[in-house]
Amino acid sequence: MNFFENIRVAFRGLKSNKLRSALTMLGIIIGVGAVIVMVAIGQGAKASVTNQIQGLGSNLIMVSPGRSNTGGVRGGAGSMSNISMDDVSAIQTNADAVQAVAPVANTQAQVVLGSQNTATQIIGTTPSYAQVRNQPVAMGRFISDKDLKDNAKVAVVGTTVVQDLMGSANANIVGQIIKINRVPFQVIGVLQSKGSSGANNNDDQIIVPLTTAQTRLIGNKSVRTVYVEAKSSDQMNTAYVEIEQILRHRHKLTSSAADDFSITSQTDILSTAEGVTQSLTLLLSGIAAISLLVGGIGIMNIMLVSVTERTREIGIRKAIGAKRRTIMFQFLIEAVVLSALGGLLGILFGFGGSSLLNRFAGMTSQMSASSVVMAFIFSAAIGIIFGVFPAQKASKLDPIEALRYE
C-alpha cells in the first residue's frame, strides 16, 4: 500500500467524523495561530523600538556629567556641570573614531507668538546636531556656525510648537519673531516631524544656537549632554574608550577614581530594548506553545478514542492482510493530517489575526517567514509525537479479539 493511498484512507477516516476532526483540529489551529500572532507582536514591538532608537541618530554615543555629591547629598545623573566646551572640542579633535560632536544645553521655557503661547523644551546646540541626531529641517534652514559665533537670536522649531503657536502644523512660521522667556528670536526653520519616542515628543522642541542659549536663556556655560557620532558602527567601542580616556585625562582623575561623567551608547540602549522585547516574545510564544501542546494532547486523546471505536475495522483490515506497519501508518498519518491541516489553517488564522491587530488595534505586528515555517513543522511534529502511541496501540491489536469486539 503506497503513501498516497495511505493518505487517502486517512482522509476518509477523518471525513467520516467531520465534527470531531474539526474540533480536534481547532486545538492545533488556535495553538499555531497564537504562536504566529504572538511572535508577530513581539517582532513588531522589537522593530518599532529599534526604529525609534535608530531615529535618535546613527552610531550615537551620549556623554553626560556625573552626579553631584555636595556634603553627602547625592544629585541625579547629570546634576553636575563638569563638562566644558573645552572637553567637547577635545573630544572633537582628539578622538579618531568620532565623526561629529554636538554639545547640548537645554532648558524649559515659555514661548510666545502674538496672543498664543506654549511651554517647550529649548535645546541650545551646534550645527552638527542636525547630523548627529538625524534631525533634518522640513522648511527654512538649520542653525549655522555663523549663528553660533554671532550669538544670533534665531530658532528652529518643531512641528508641535508650530501647531501650538499658529494653530496648524503646516502654517508658515519661518520669518516670524517668537519670544522665548521674553527674548525675541527669529524663526529660521521648521524641523522635520519625527513623532514621539516613548514619553519624549521629538517635535515639541525649539533648537537655538548653543551660545545664545547659554548667555540669554540659561545663564551659565555648562553643557548638559554631548551627543557624539562615531565614524561607523564598528568604531562605536573605540569611540567610547577614546572619549572616556580623554575626559578622564582632562578631569585629572586618578586611575582608582570613578568616572565623574557617564557615557551611554546607542548599542547599549538597543541591546537593552532588544533584551526586553526578546523576553516579551519568548513569554508570548511560550504561552502560545503551551496551547499548541494542549492541542497535541487533544489529538492523542481523539486518536485513542478513534482506535477503540474502530477496533473492529482494525480487525477486519488485519484479517484481510494488513500488516502491523500498515495499520500503524494509517493511524499515524491520520494524526499527522489532522495536525498538519490544523497547522495550515492556524497559519491562515495567524495571518488574519495579525493583520486585524495592525488595522484595528494600531499595533505593528510583523509576520516572519521563520515563525510560519516553524509553527507548521512544529504542528506536524506534534501529530507524529502524539500520534505514535495510539497508532502503535492500533497496530498491536490481536485480529481475533479485534474481530470479536462489539
Binding site: 492482510g321 502491523r324 481475533i400
Partner: protein
C-alpha cells in the same frame, strides 16, 4: 494442501489453563469442501482461527501450501492471509460507511495492486456474485444476503487457494443461506477449497466432508453421502480467475 499435525492450543487466564485444542491432526486437499461442526467450546472456532492463520498454535505443525505456518512471523501470516485465504464471517465484517466496491478493493490495496486493476477486478467479483447494480451501496444500504455476497466477492479478489467461512449463514434467512451456499458450491467446483464452520446440520449437508470436534479433539470425520445441492443464480465468474489461480 493443508496439514495439521498434533496441534495444541492452550489459553491461559491467570492460573487456569484451557486446552482448546488437544492434539489435532487434520489434512485437507485441494478442491475439498469441508464443514467443521461441534458444540460450542469444542474447539472448532480455535481450529478455524489457526487454519485461517489468524492465530498460532501453542504446539504442533501446520503446513499450508507447503509453507510452514507454525513458524511464520506476524508479517508473513498477514501476507498469507492476504494472498492465499479468503475470509467470510458470520457478521459479514464489511467496513462501515465504505461502498461495496471499496470493501472489495481492500485486500488488493494491501497486496499492492494498482488503482485501475483494483477497480476492474473488484467490479468483476461483485458482478460475479450478482451485485453489479449495487457497487456503490454502503453496507447499511444492503440486505444481509447482499452484504454476505460482498464479503464473498472480497474474499475472492486475490484468487485465494481456500475460503474460510465462519458461520456464514448464521445471520441470514434460509433463502439467502441457500444462495450463499450455492455460491460456495460453485466456487468449490471451480477448484477453490472451502472450509466452513457451522452448527447447522442442514448447512453442513452442502459440503463434501464433515469434521466433528468435541473437547478439543476430532470426534468424527466422514464423507457426506446424500449431499444437498443449493439452487441459486449461476455464478458468473470469468475463467481468468481460474487461469491465474492455476498459473500461480
Amino acid at each position: 494442501m493443508i496439514k495439521l499435525t498434533n496441534i495444541v492450543k492452550i489459553y491461559k487466564t491467570g492460573d487456569i489453563e484451557l486446552r482448546a485444542l488437544d492434539g489435532v491432526d487434520l489434512s485437507v486437499d485441494k478442491g475439498e469442501f469441508v464443514a467443521i461442526m461441534g458444540p460450542s467450546g469444542s474447539g472448532k472456532s480455535t481450529a478455524m482461527n489457526i487454519l485461517g492463520c489468524l492465530d498460532k498454535a501453542s504446539a504442533g505443525e501446520y503446513f499450508l501450501d507447503d509453507l510452514k505456518i507454525s513458524e511464520a512471523s506476524d508479517n508473513q501470516l498477514a501476507e498469507i492471509r492476504n494472498r492465499k485465504i479468503g475470509f467470510v464471517f458470520q457478521s459479514f465484517n464489511l467496513l462501515p460507511r465504505t461502498s461495496a466496491l471499496e470493501n472489495v478493493e481492500l485486500p488488493m490495496l494491501y497486496s499492492g495492486v494498482g488503482a485501475r486493476e483494483r477497480k476492474e477486478k473488484a467490479l468483476k467479483a461483485l458482478s460475479a456474485v450478482g451485485l453489479a447494480d449495487r457497487v456503490h451501496h454502503k453496507p447499511n444500504e444492503l440486505s444481509g444476503g447482499q452484504q454476505q455476497r460482498v464479503a464473498i466477492a472480497r474474499s475472492l479478489v486475490n484468487n485465494p487457494l481456500i475460503i474460510m467461512a465462519d458461520e456464514p449463514t448464521g445471520n441470514l434467512d434460509s433463502k439467502s443461506s441457500t444462495e450463499i451456499m450455492s455460491i460456495f458450491q460453485q466456487l468449490n467446483e471451480m477448484g477453490i477449497s472451502v472450509i466452513l464452520v457451522t452448527h447447522e446440520p442442514d448447512i453442513a449437508k452442502f459440503s463434501k466432508r464433515i469434521v466433528h470436534f468435541k473437547d478439543g479433539l476430532i470426534d468424527s470425520d466422514e464423507i457426506v453421502r446424500n449431499r444437498s445441492i443449493a439452487q441459486g443464480a449461476r455464478l458468473n465468474l470469468e475463467l481468468t480467475n481460474r487461469v491465474e489461480a492455476a498459473g500461480r
